[in-house]
Symmetry: C2
Subunit: 136 residues, 2 copies
Amino acid sequence: MEPNIFKTADIKSTQKRRLLLLLLQKQQRPMTAEDLYEKAKLLVSINLSTVYRNLNTLTEKGVLSRTIRQNGKAYYTFISHVHCHRLICTSCNDIISVESCPLGELQETLEQETGYQILEHSLEFKGICPECRSKK
Amino acid sequence: MEPNIFKTADIKSTQKRRLLLLLLQKQQRPMTAEDLYEKAKLLVSINLSTVYRNLNTLTEKGVLSRTIRQNGKAYYTFISHVHCHRLICTSCNDIISVESCPLGELQETLEQETGYQILEHSLEFKGICPECRSKK
DNA sequence: TTACATGCAAATACTTTGCATATAA
DNA sequence: TTATATGCAAAGTATTTGCATGTAA
């Protein structure tokens, strides 16, 4: 883990924070507060509200990014992660990462048309995966 | 309002359902359960859980579509509405509709690459609107 | 030493559910 | 008449907050 993430973000380096970042880094996939809590409590004594508070702090400080998915839950990743989206099977909840993203161009057009400075976007696809389709 | 929406959806035509659809139709913008409840209770006696139950029923029957936005709330629209997305100002929460959508092609490519049958997608842009930018 | 982090319990926001009653077909 | 819709209160799920205590710098 970058030794100076905390210094850069101007927050204290605590055992719980180091663990949460380590877990997010190890899993290499967006995780919910609950996901992280379940993993973390196997290793240290930690409270769910500590997880929530830290995820909020780290998001505000620009270390993590938060995305609310169509299941209503917040998912967190390192900001530095490759920009990608999701394709979710509505039948078995399998998730595939979608790395292609054709929105850069549209985003520029939108900025010109609307005068907005666009900072981010969220995109999610839903469908039925091959396994579930064949089971029908 | 289409006289046979309810017949087609195979659900009873009740006063509250007719009102909820009418309100959604009149506003011509995605609304939350709370939005609809506030509008509806000015006109008839209605319970918030009736609103939620009907929005769920109408969504399951394919009359409405539901999208969870990055504020964590569910927004409903007629399925028949023009396919469009959102550009939200993170500073003043102003919302602009984005009608262009370059995802059709990517969606086809994804279907071929992944074997998924893609049924829908959700897309949201966030940025800072011209007014808020000039206030800085 | 001191400001910030944490644990715990309680509160909040949005949504769902069980059950008795009301109503559309 | 009968299955479905509704109201009401209670519960569920994800998240936040107040306050006392603990800990990094």
